[in-house]
Structures are given as C-alpha cells and as structure tokens.
Symmetry: C2
Subunit: 564 residues, 2 copies
C-alpha cells in the first residue's frame, strides 16, 4: 500500500519562529526533523481511521510569539541582588525566558504550549557563571526563602522543570558547561553539570591538548536524549543510556560529586570503594535538585574502541523466547553486550514499518521461515570493548539466540537503528500537528515479574480502542530489565489524556513495576512515590530533604513527592 504514490502530508521543515511557543516545545535542534515515512503514515490513517483529508492542515502549531501575563513577585531590590551576583546579562525577566526554562518535553507541556496555556513560570531566570555564583545564590535564597529551580538540558519528560512556587530558575548549561579535567590514571573526567552529551563525548574521544591525555575515551552514557541533555541532568535524574547494559546506568558511572545545598557545600571523596558507612555520594544521586545543586561531577570514563563494535540482530519466533534468550545472555557470565534490545510483537511490526522493511523481500523471507507478524520479536544490539572480548560476546549472544529459535537479521539492522537512534523524538511534533499523540512510560522490573507487568500495562493501554502500544526492553541486568512502553493515540483533550496516562501509571504500580526506570520522578510521578516506596522509605527521603533544605527552597512544590 505504501508503495503507491498517494498523498503525503506536508510535514513541516521550517525551523520554529524565534520567540514562538513552538520553539520551546519542539524537540532538539530547530533545523532538524524526522518525519513519519509512508508506511507509518499509512499505519496512522488505518489505526486511527483517519483520511488524507485529516492531514491537509496542521493545527495548533504554536507558531505565535510567547506572551504571558504572569506578574513577577520578586521585588526589584531582590532581583538586583541576583544581578549583583551574576551580572546583569545573566538575569532574565522576559516572558520567553521564563516560559522556555520552565518547560520540558512532557506531552502535557507541548499540548499546553500549543494552546498558549502557561501554568507556572519562575519570576526570573539566572545563568550562574560558576560554582561561587551558585553558592551565593543558594545562600541568598535560603535567607530570603526564595524558591530555586534548576534547568540542565531541558529534556525532562516528568515535569522536572515545573516551577509551582515561582522564584528563581538557574540555567546550568549556559556557562557551567565545560570539561575541567581528565585523570587518565583513574579513568575519570571532572565536568561541569551543564555540559551537553555531544560536547562531553567529543572531548573524551579526542581530548583537547591542554589536558595532556594520551588515550581516547568514551563516557559510555547515551540516552535517547543524549544530544539535548547534560551530564548533570543524567546524574541527578538517574538516567540510563542505550549502552547501559555494559557501561552501567548514570548511578554506576558517577565517581564523585560536589553539591551546593542550604546545609553547606561539599564534595564527596574520590575512592573506588570504601567501607565507611552509608555513602553520601550515592545519597545525592537522583536527588533531582531537591537537596541541592550539583556544581561539579567526576565521572568514570572508558577506553573508546568503536572499531571493535560487533553488531547483531535477530528475529525471535515469540516474545517469550526473546525474553528467555535475553535472560540467559545477561546471566551467562561471558561479558555483556553494550547495546541490547528486544521488541515485543507490536513494536516489531511498527519497527519493520519504520525501517521500511515491511512488505520487502526481507519481510517475505522472514515470514516464509515461520516468523509470523504479531508473534515475532526483533532483537538487536552490539558488543564493544577489547576486540576479542567483543567478538566473544557476540558469538555467545548468537549461540543463545539460535538456541531459542532466532534467525539472524545481520548487523545491518543494528546499524540502521544506530543511525537514527536519537531522531525518533522529532516525529512527535509532526504527529501532534494532526492531533496524534506519541508518548512513553518506562519501568524497572525483575525477570520473574516481567510478563505480568508487560501484559498488565499493555492490556490497559490496548483496552482503549485505536491505540498503538509498542514495548521494548533495552537495559539489561542479571536480575531483570526495563520495559519501555510507547503508545500512540489520536487525542487532543489534555484532561482526557491525563486521565488515560494516570491509568497507565496505576497499571504499572498494580503489576509490580517501578514508577520510573530512567526518566526520573519529577512532579509527574511524585504523587505515586509514597505508594510505591512505602511510608517508611518515603520518611527517609523526607528526612534527608529536611536536613539539606530546612526552608524548603530547593525545587519545592511536590518534587520527588517530598513536600506534597
């Protein structure tokens, strides 16, 4: 069907107007786009009973200039204090800054901004130049009880940047975005929190001469938001990168941290391991700005050997077999692949469409060999590290995939995915221009509970008519994995969407998933925290909150569920 030369929507290829709502909610670079291909377009029409006519005219594009009527409650005198600290050009009070730096990439925020709805904004936006600035700001805000919020890269999908109590938004990525040092003996890099992924990785791959470094390194952390998220953001929200199965999650690759908190500034010690009681270094990870502000972080780095990458892809006859093979692989004690992903039957079909494989001779071949649509499951990934290691891991992965009835799809498929792995989020705007939402939730789960969670959440989502639900697992541990649910539906009413979304979170909790695997908590999941962790464990987090932030100025208004 998609081969016919029929109507195709005129997907926008225009950078959003400067100062417009769209320039805030659009994913990534203003000039980059990724559009649904014709197979996807056909799928959208079919699934949502839409016609070409529905794609004639985009709606609520948000091309208008941001104008808000939100009074700045902070007095001029107080604002001048911030100007004294960081200089005039690093304090913004204009509408656009206030909106831009308090909005992340949640579907709700995009829907709101398309409708020119702005719920909360900070009074002022401040761009600190260094940790001294941050220290002065925190001290001043603490004495004056002025709320402080923090913006890194702005990629939060959990209302991580909302500012219900107004106050001050600190933008870490404007100035505090440098690599400070590389310690080649320790294999660590010390970096300012506002450094973006690509700049960080580039500096590690080919260290600037001033660092006097001989080797080439990699950060090992490649979340889908890599291009538009910061190192500090990874750490304080507990991100997980696409190669986490080998390199570990953000939690694992933090070596030492320096925080400015109302209770003081401190830097955790640099030790590979100690037995000196509970580790404050770990207590701070995932604190999402609620305890203090990360001003410097020393990360573990790894030798970069991309030339040794060993790609693979397989098609499994069923989801169960894909899961069983994955478990054997990750528990096999032969080293772990860096990237490893399995897609459930629905994601496999949608993925074949996305890769343009559906209906091709390859598709027919797979079919002929007995891998049937809506049963078969795609698996792909790669091993890396030292040459012989990567080769051996790939061989063992292949052996176990074959044991569970998989056929090889060649490393080419993994290469296709690799090329576009940061681009998928760009399609969100195209879809929403025509009233279609694409959104995701993800959850950590043990192997023993995987199928229950998958079925429970999927059946809730699929219970809604005309709803696409794709699931994959992409971060593997000997004890379990994550489930990443992507759902697509036609909907323009935010209230109705929020209700549907709440139902998904309920289904996750009900079926024993964690409320977040790597998107953090923010204010989106905050109301579920106590139910999820239990009151005793929430009490521990609240005690820590009170210790670091007795005046409740750090990211106040429900973040992490600490001050609900």
């Amino acid at each position: 069907m998609f081969e016919e030369k029929t109507f195709q929507p005129d997907w926008t290829e225009k950078a959003p107007e400067k100062g417009s709502y769209r320039s805030i909610f659009k994913w990534g670079s203003p000039d980059e786009f990724k559009h649904p291909n014709s197979a996807w377009y056909a799928m959208l029409k079919e699934e949502f009973k839409m016609t070409d006519k529905d794609f004639k005219k985009p709606t609520l594009e948000g091309n208008e200039k941001v104008v808000i009527k939100k009074k700045i409650k902070l007095t001029k005198k107080k604002i001048s204090q911030f100007i004294d600290i960081v200089g005039e050009k690093n304090v913004a009070t204009d509408d656009y800054s206030r909106v831009k730096y308090s909005h992340g990439k949640t579907v709700d925020e995009a829907m709101d901004l398309r409708n020119h709805v702005v719920r909360d904004v900070p009074d002022i936006v401040v761009h600190p130049r260094n940790k001294k600035d941050v220290q002065k700001i925190v001290e001043y805000c603490n004495t004056q009880k002025i709320p402080i919020y923090v913006f890194g890269g702005g990629s939060s999908v959990t209302f991580g940047l909302n500012t219900p109590k107004a106050g001050v938004m600190l933008v870490m990525s404007t100035h505090m975005n440098k690599l400070l040092s590389i310690n080649e003996l320790n294999q660590t890099a010390t970096v300012q929190p506002g450094m973006f992924g690509p700049a960080y990785e580039k500096a590690l791959n080919n260290p600037p001469k001033k660092f006097k470094v001989k080797g080439q390194y990699t950060c090992g952390h490649f979340p889908q938001s890599f291009e538009y998220s910061t190192v500090g953001g990874w750490v304080v929200t507990l991100g997980a990168g696409q190669a986490s199965t080998y390199y570990g999650d953000a939690y694992d690759i933090v070596f030492a941290q320096e925080y400015v908190t109302p209770a003081g500034t401190f830097r955790t010690l640099e030790y590979p391991a100690t037995a000196t009681g509970p580790k404050v270094n770990d207590i701070m990870k995932g604190s999402e700005g609620s305890f203090g502000i990360l001003v410097e972080v020393t990360m573990k780095i790894f030798r970069n050997m991309p030339q040794n990458r060993q790609r693979f892809a397989f098609m499994f006859p069923t989801w169960e077999k894909a899961v069983n093979a994955s478990r054997e692989i990750i528990q096999g004690e032969f080293g772990k692949p860096a990237v490893f992903r399995i897609s459930d039957p629905e994601e496999t079909e949608v993925g074949l469409k996305l890769f343009g494989l559906q209906g091709t001779p390859i598709d027919s071949l797979i079919n002929l060999r007995g891998y049937k649509p809506m049963k078969r499951c795609m698996c792909m990934g790669w091993a890396e590290g030292e040459k012989g290691f990567a080769k051996h891991v790939k061989e063992q992965v292949a052996r176990l995939c074959k044991k569970y009835g998989a056929m090889t799809m060649t490393g080419f498929t993994a290469m296709l995915w690799e090329k576009t792995r940061y681009k998928e989020p760009y399609m969100r705007e195209d879809l929403m221009d025509y009233g279609v939402i694409i959104d995701t939730v993800e959850s950590g789960v043990t192997w023993a509970n995987l199928h229950r969670l998958h079925q429970g959440v999927r059946s809730y989502i699929k219970n809604r008519p005309e709803t696409i639900c794709m699931t994959h697992a992409s971060h593997f541990y000997p004890q379990g994995t994550n489930l990443y649910f992507i759902f697509i539906l036609k909907m323009i009413d935010l209230e109705a969407y929020r209700q549907f979304h709440d139902g998904i979170l309920d289904a996750i909790l009900k079926h024993g998933g964690s409320i977040s695997h790597h998107h953090g908590v923010g204010k989106l999941f905050a109301p579920l925290m106590e139910k999820h962790l239990g009151k005793e464990q929430m009490a521990v987090l609240r005690t820590l909150k009170k210790h670091f932030d007795p005046n409740s100025i750090m990211n106040p208004g429900g973040h992490l569920g600490l001050d609900l």
Copy 2:
C-alpha cells in the same frame, strides 16, 4: 638456614578449654591451626632478634576460665520481658556469654583477654528466633531506652561488637541462619542475616530439593573471614571478598533488604534498577547496626562454574610495573579476573617464605632471570565465568603482565594460595603466644594516589625498628584498588601498640587513603570519620541516625562516629 634441623617451637595443637578466654579470642574452629613454617620461624627470630629460648614457653595463653565482675544493671523484671519474647533458653546472663558475644578479633581484644581484662559487656545476651522476635525486642528496647548491639559471626576487627553502654546483645547466627528461598529467574537468594558463609555457599552450589532449583550457583563473596562471618555481617559492614574484582563488593551484590528499626520495619523493593530518587536500599548498607537490624536480605547470586577457573601467577621485576600492569588489566575492557592480587617487594619475600619457595630451585631460577629480592613483586589470581570468557581474560592478563616484564609462575602458585587462603589468621595466636603481634589495616585508594599512600603508610610502619610490613592490593576497580597492610612486630604493651596503630591510621588519612576499604568502621575508626568524610557528610549520617534511632539505642557509644 631453615633447612637445618634446629629447634622448632611447640605450637599449640590443643583446642582451647571450654569456657576459657582463649576459646573466645582464638580465630576460627577450636580444632584448626596453621603454624608458622620453619622459614617463617627463622624470619621471626632474625627480624625481632629473638632466639630459640624466647620460643620455649608460651605466655598469657588465656587458658583460664572466664570470670568477670560486671553487675547486670538490667532489672529482673526487664530481663523477664526478653524471656517472654524469645523463651528462657534464648536469654543468657552468664559471664562467658556476655564476654564471648561482645568481643571480636581485634588485636587489642586478644591482648586484653589474654590478660583477663574485660572492659565492656552487655547485661544479657539474647538469641532471637525470627524477625518477629527482633521486632518485639526493638520495640521494647525503644520504649525502655535499652541499648541493643548485634553479633553476627564475631569476626569484626574494628571493635564492631563492643558494648560500651551495656544493654542487650542480639546474636543473629544462633537461629536466624537459614536460606529462605532461591529465585532462579532473578538469580537471587533470600537469606537470614545470621547464615555463615560456608553453609550459604554450599546451599547455593547444590540447592536443597525443596527449593526446586535446577541450576548451581555461587554467592561470589569470599572474604578471608568467609568461614566465620555471616551474610548479614557482610552487608552491614560493607565487606569485599577475594573474588570481588569480578563479582563486586558486598555493596554491589545486595538486591533487597529488610530492616527492623525504632522508626519502623521495612523491606526495600526488588528492582534491578530504578530512577525513583535516592535509594534507601543503598542507604542501609554499611549502617553497622546503627540504624536498625537487618533481618532478611536478598542477595544477587551467580552461575557456579568452578570447572572453568583459569589460574595464573606472575613475578614482576618491580612494584611499579606490577601496579601499571594491574591498571591496564582492570581498565582493559576485556572482562575482569575474579581473583587478582599483587604483593609489594616485602610481602613477596615473606610470601615466598610462607609458601616454602624461598631458597628452592624455583627461587634461584627467578633470581637468575633478574627478578631480585626486595624488588620483585608477586601477582596471582584467576579468571572464572563462562569457559571462553575465562580463557580470554587469562590470555589478556598474561599478555599485559608480559608487556610489563613479568615471568609466569604457573597457575600452581595460585592453587597453593587458594588452598590456604582462609587459614592465615590462625597464625595470629601462635605468634601472640610468644609476644609477637600480626595485624592488618586496609584502605581504598585511586590509581593516581596509590604510590603516595603505599609509601606514606609503609614508611611510618618501617620507621619503627624491627617491624615487618607487607602490602598487597587485592580488590581492583577501574578507578583504583585497595592497599592491605600486614605488619608484624614484637610488642606486649597494649598502650604502646594502640599508639603505634593510631599512627598508622593517621598516616593513611594524611596520605589520602580511605579509613576502611572492607573492614568497616566499628568503634575503632569511628573517631576518624568526621575528619575523613568532612562535617557536612557526617551531618548527613547523623541525620539518618536520628531519624531511624531517635533514642540512640542502636549500637550506641560511638559506632560509625555517629554519637561521639
């Protein structure tokens, strides 16, 4: 010299008398012994200017029956409350129990007990049968403000069992020592905290039928105290096993924990990873009974494939080359060896004596090939896991060792070490019977700081005349390792020894080592905690203490430095 048939001391081969002081301070099984061999005996005489005459008669053997004059301050009425909870036979008030269960294996404690000096004891010793008992005890003690201490296996070398505030000692290993379940899908085992290492490992190697488990597993955690320490002890003191380089430290292999605290009982959730804020599961690890009592723990377990073990041993020309090779190995991204150890020049010489290799043709050969005494450094270990993986790791280790000028000593040396690896502590009693102390401290350190710490601590120790100081690194991480200092000296005055020991700890702090890598903190290192961590981080630990234990009844009197 040691080949001559000269006088050899009559090392004791008699199990200590029941009820005697010696039965408390003697390491391990009453009936097991390991004596210095003739080479070691010769070394002791030479180093400490001793003669055969000094080894004619052991002194202060502590064979006398334990008698103390310590009033029980707990009223009969209160004691009867404990009897009501656990039953009469699980409450002990006799002298022997009170001393035995409040003493660990610190040199100081052994010296004291040899002199019939008993500083602190609990009023009563209670053997809880299950977690309900523990809950009732903690609740009662909290209302009555009765101090609670906890005894696991009793192998603490940091005054971990001292009871400065008297009160109640809970012995976890009497009843709460069972494996509860194995989850084969998740590769986890749920175990009571008082289970000893060998029983735990045996049950994992060959799971009892009732668990309906097909595979064979290993705990992966083999500290030198393995035979006389408990799973709970590993977790709450942050132990590290001899195979930690591959399997991780205790911190890494804990999956979920259940604690009874004055602030409530809770169990941390079972997820392979989450992004739901700071992790209470991690906050509790290493809390050493100061926050609450670990009553159940779910540990990660691993596939057991001892048949794949690939042993190796190498001799390096210098310490620097041994260190550089180790760093390249651990940062090489080809998988990690399970056991990996390098000994500094002095330990290498003493080790060659211990293995009976000094003066043999092997020794001559090594010498001839240019590996000179007091320069050369021994390295040994093994890789394990899946067969091809273990083989590849060993090959890479060998390649890098050769790159740094090492000669192979064959896997036989590693096998020798493996056989006796839990036995060395038995020599302590033999030595102390003749006024010679053998003791250890250990510290975590980054690669960049390794030589500074090694030289700094070593030069302090060697500055004392007639003092042997051996150092090895035995737990490897990409960012650093540990340094384990073993020192032997002739000394019988406890005060003088304490002063000398304090100087070692100062030297560690001064040269940037952590005050503990895997022995925990206890009350021995407690006074150094604030200096080490800084006041801001100590304040976090104290806040947690106050939260869990507002009446300061959990392990009170300086533990972890929380209530100093």
